[in-house]
């Protein structure tokens, strides 16, 4: 048996009751040692999908395969997965070392050996000094590292992360993001990371899976999805795109590929607002047809020809930057 993919979902559906299913017949193949992000708004089914892979939710129909073996119906420990919970779920009554050693203790490993292993894994996340502390004595970022160590002790083939960065403040988020990516590379296993932040997903993912209403709308590398969004939903959710109706159908154009000109070809539009974003300036316009659109300019370019709210301009873009949208 030659497992070509770390994780495979085959026609997986999850129903919680009568009515629309939370996850509707999705299929996905995640290549070996890849960082996969499940991205979508709340209620899209990404967390349910993650929990079905983990074994914390039963699958209504379909199969989950890990490394080529069908794990549908197996309890979490027998799947070769490990999960990092959104609230970390570190056992408050156990020290960090005991938390990390927990899975070993459940398997009956002796005290000396599991303490040694626990310290080793705490070292991996630079938390050995806190081995005897209780979780309540740690900061959010520190707790997360311990939770990571605890998940990795069982040497999983796939690590599942449920919105791991949501509880952190923005600066810490970026730092921890880098660490997660580095860790995934070093360990050489697959990570499945659920998030509702497209920035996070684009920065981390080798494979980005955009979900909506229980379906997978698009799966591919971040570059691919950003450059060629399949639907208007994806274009809007990813951000940085203008979705405009044409006679032939909807199109999407990247906001940073749009420009404002004084006259000539293009869509007449009125400037609504100008937002300074550091290295870029975002200009919000309303077209003559009443749609909202925005233009992202490098700040130097903006400074060369600034605009103000109320001005009338023309919204233009190169035809090769247009993307036809399926819906």
């Amino acid at each position: 048996m030659d497992p070509r993919f770390d994780v495979e979902l085959v026609g997986v559906t999850k129903r919680y009751g009568p009515g629309k299913p939370a996850v509707d017949d999705i299929s996905l193949r995640i290549p070996k040692a890849s960082y996969c992000c499940l991205l979508g708004p709340s209620g899209c089914g990404k967390t349910s999908t993650l929990r079905m892979v983990a074994g914390h939710e039963t699958i209504t129909s379909g199969d989950v395969l890990i490394n080529g073996s069908n794990v549908t119906g197996l309890p979490p420990i027998k799947r070769g997965t490990a999960m990092m919970f959104q609230n970390y779920a570190l056992f408050p009554h156990l020290s960090c070392a005991d938390n990390v050693a927990f899975s070993l203790r459940m398997r009956g490993v002796g005290k000396a050996e599991r303490t040694r292993t626990a310290l080793e894994f705490l070292g991996l996340v630079h938390m050995e000094a806190y081995a005897s502390r209780l979780p309540a004595q740690l900061s959010g970022g520190q707790q997360q590292r311990v939770a990571l160590a605890r998940a990795l002790v069982s040497r999983p083939k796939v690590l599942l992360l449920d919105e791991p960065l949501s509880a952190l403040d923005p600066f810490l988020r970026v730092k921890v993001r880098e660490e997660l990516k580095r860790l995934q590379r070093e360990l050489g296993i697959s990570f499945i990371h659920v998030t509702h932040s497209q920035d996070e997903a684009m920065a981390l993912a080798d494979m980005m899976v955009v979900m909506q209403d229980g379906h997978i709308r698009q799966a591919g590398s971040p570059r691919e999805v950003f450059s060629n969004p399949a639907t208007s939903f994806i274009a809007r959710f990813i951000g940085g795109h203008n979705v405009l109706p044409r006679e032939a159908g909807l199109i999407a154009v990247r906001a940073d590929r749009c420009r404002l000109t004084d006259a000539g070809a293009g869509l007449p539009a009125q400037v609504e607002a100008v937002e300074y974003q550091g290295g870029q300036v975002r200009i919000v316009v309303t077209t003559v047809n009443g749609e909202n659109a925005s233009v992202l300019l490098p700040d130097a370019e903006y400074d060369a020809d600034p605009v103000e709210a109320g001005m009338h301009k023309h919204l233009t873009w190169a035809p090769e930057d247009e993307r036809r949208l399926a819906a």
Partner: protein, 306 residues
Amino acid sequence: MASDTTVELPATSWRPGWTRPRLSPWMVSWLQVGPLATVLIVLFALPTLTFFAASFFDYDRVGIYPDFLLDNYRELLTSPTTWRIYLSSMRFALIVWAITLFLGFNLAHFLVFHIRSNTTRMALFLLCAIPFWTSGIIRTIAWIPFLGRNGVFNTVLLDLGLINRPLDILLFSDLSVVITYVHLYTLLMMGPIANSLAKIDRALIEASRDAGATRWQIMRHVILPLSRTGIALGSILVFTQVLGDYFVVKRMSGGQSASVVSALSTEIQAMQYPPASASAVLLVLFVGLLVAGMMRVVDIRRELVS
């Protein structure tokens, strides 16, 4: 859909066997609540049905005889004593309820909204709660030396010159019964109300203040409605304790009043089980109606279980 749509199932597509026998979730729950259910059914439901059945039995001085007579009920309901006792008990219950509600609500409000430090709040609450854990009998008789003619209260008042003769009505009167009930049962009102008040989102109060409401308006329109469940719960507890009381009325009224339950216990001691059973059934119906009425105000199950 997306890129990876064509998936061939691997050759070894099989569902692995369950690793352990799986019970359906509700069967696990049944096993877990089994002991509780057994105790309650055998030791509560069945005994209640027993005296319900016995209320229809015949009896004489020698023993009791299974039958189906309504005589016990007829005697019970036509006797003026029955109505007198129930009226008296309800009177006590209403007075005690009003006082404990006033005290309980204000004290709970004080603890929840006026005390700022958590430690102080806990300490005060514990102070109020600790007497509750001393036997009710001892707490009841504690009032006797306190209220008696030579008791502390009279002595202090005499010494202060506020009265010339010791007050007789303090002890062995309706007043002493009410005082004792309030002493015993105020906590039953305070606890649930404090619980309800603590659950009120402070943001609601701030928003009301923002909209210009005075403190009394906030009390009337925000706090009181949101503490309905605590008040209902406390009321149920106080009413059932007073109506089901055996000891307090007997001791503290000096024999002038009787409670429903103490009258019942006299019949039990005389081994007249069928009429005692009829009295019991009447009391159960009475209390049951009251409680059902109060439960219309609040969905107890949602409050206590969620």
